[in-house]
C-alpha cells in the first residue's frame, strides 16, 4: 500500500480535556454559590493543619465549608479534618503526584453542593505537577512554611507563578529558623508580581483573623457573579 505524508494543524492544549472538565466544574460550583480554593504546597508545609484551623473558625462564623483532600496513599489527613464536623472526602491518588479535574468531579458525586459555601481542595503535596491541572477552583493558593527557605519561589517558578494567592505558614517558627521574612516576600513578588500574601500560624493563631476575614469576604462576593467565569 502506498501512502502520502500529510500534515494536520491542530493547535490545542494537551490538557484540553482536563480544562473542559474544570470549566464545567467551576460553572456547577458557581451555580450552587460555592467558592472553591485549591491548596498547593510541598509535603509538610502544614496544609492540613492550616485547614483544620480554618474549617473550625469558618464554622464558628456561620460559614458552611467542605473539603476534598488528596493524598498518595493514606486517609490520615481526611481523618484529621473530619474531627471538625465538616463534610470531608479523601481522594487517594494511588501514587499519582497531583489531582485532576476528573477526580474532583467523581468525589463531589452525591454531595448536595447547595449545602456548602466554600470548598477546599487540598492537593497532593508537590510543588511541580499540580501546576498544570485546573481543578475548577476560583483561587489557587500556594502555601510556603518559614522552615522551607526563603528561595522556594525561585526554585519552583512554574507553580508559584500559577498561584493567585500565597499563605506563609508556621510563622511561630520563623525566629527559631532565622527566616528572612523580607527576602521571602521579595522572592514571592519576583516570581508572581503583585501576589497577595498572608502570614499565618495555625498554632498560635497569628494572622488567622485576617485570613478568615478574607475567605468570608471572597465567599460573599465571588459566586454572586457567575458571569466572571465567562472568559
Amino acid at each position: 500500500m502506498t501512502t502520502t505524508p500529510r500534515v494536520l494543524e491542530i493547535r490545542q492544549k494537551v490538557l484540553s480535556k482536563n480544562d473542559e472538565l474544570a470549566r464545567g466544574l467551576r460553572d456547577r460550583l458557581h451555580a450552587h454559590g460555592v467558592f472553591t480554593l485549591n491548596f498547593v504546597s510541598s509535603p509538610g508545609t502544614g496544609k492540613t493543619r492550616l485547614l483544620e484551623e480554618t474549617l473550625g473558625r469558618l464554622v464558628a462564623r456561620g460559614v458552611k465549608p467542605a473539603a476534598l483532600v488528596g493524598d498518595l496513599a493514606t486517609d490520615n489527613d481526611a481523618q484529621r479534618l473530619m474531627r471538625s464536623g465538616v463534610p470531608v472526602r479523601q481522594i487517594t491518588t494511588a501514587g499519582r503526584c497531583h489531582l485532576e479535574a476528573e477526580m474532583i468531579a467523581t468525589h463531589l458525586e452525591g454531595w448536595d453542593l447547595g449545602q456548602f459555601d466554600i470548598l477546599f481542595i487540598e492537593n497532593v503535596g508537590n510543588l511541580v505537577c499540580p501546576s498544570s491541572y485546573d481543578l475548577g477552583e476560583d483561587l489557587r493558593v500556594v502555601m510556603l512554611s518559614v522552615t522551607e527557605g526563603e528561595d522556594k519561589p525561585l526554585k519552583y517558578p512554574s507553580l508559584f507563578n500559577s498561584a493567585d494567592l500565597a499563605v506563609i505558614t508556621k510563622l511561630d517558627l520563623a525566629e527559631a529558623c532565622e527566616t528572612d521574612m523580607a527576602a521571602m516576600h521579595q522572592n514571592l513578588q519576583a516570581i508572581r508580581p503583585g501576589i497577595r500574601v498572608f502570614e499565618t500560624s495555625a498554632k498560635t493563631g497569628a494572622g488567622m483573623d485576617e485570613w478568615i476575614a478574607f475567605l468570608v469576604e471572597q465567599q460573599r462576593i465571588r459566586p454572586a457573579a457567575p458571569e466572571a467565569t465567562a472568559e
Partner: protein
C-alpha cells in the same frame, strides 16, 4: 513526575483528532513553555511508553521550547525573561503580565494517508 500523564493526554488528544482511516502517525509537533512545569527529557522518555501500541508508535516527538515573555508596563513592550524572576531585562520593572511561557500545546501532526486507490 507527571510527564507520563501528560504524554498519555497527548496521545489521546492526537487519537481524537486523527482523520478516519489513518493508522500511522509519523511525527507530532508540540509547543512547550518554560513555565509549563513539564521536563522535556522526561516527556520525551514517557512519549515512547505512552505511544506503544497506538497509531503513534514509532513517531517522532518534536518539541519547540518557548521562553517566558512578559509585558513591561514601563517600556510598553513585550520582553523575554533572561533569568527566573519576572523583571524586565531592560528597565528592571517587575511585571506579572505574562504573554508567553505556559504553553503545553499540540501544534500539528504528520501522518501517512492511505492513497485513494488503496483506501
Amino acid at each position: 513526575m507527571h510527564e507520563l500523564s501528560i504524554a498519555q493526554s497527548l496521545v489521546s488528544l492526537v487519537e481524537r483528532q486523527l482523520p478516519e482511516g489513518v493508522t500511522r502517525v509519523t511525527a507530532v509537533d508540540m509547543r512547550l513553555g518554560a513555565l509549563a512545569g513539564v521536563v522535556r527529557g522526561a516527556l520525551e522518555f514517557c512519549y515512547g511508553i505512552a505511544t506503544d501500541g497506538t497509531p503513534l508508535q514509532g513517531s517522532t516527538l518534536r518539541i519547540v521550547e518557548l521562553p517566558v515573555v512578559i509585558h513591561c508596563p514601563e517600556c510598553q513592550a513585550d520582553r523575554t525573561l533572561e533569568g527566573v524572576t519576572f523583571r524586565c531585562p531592560v528597565c528592571g520593572t517587575l511585571s506579572g503580565d505574562l504573554r508567553q511561557g505556559r504553553e503545553l500545546d499540540l501544534a500539528s501532526i504528520e501522518y501517512d494517508e492511505p492513497e485513494v486507490a488503496s483506501a
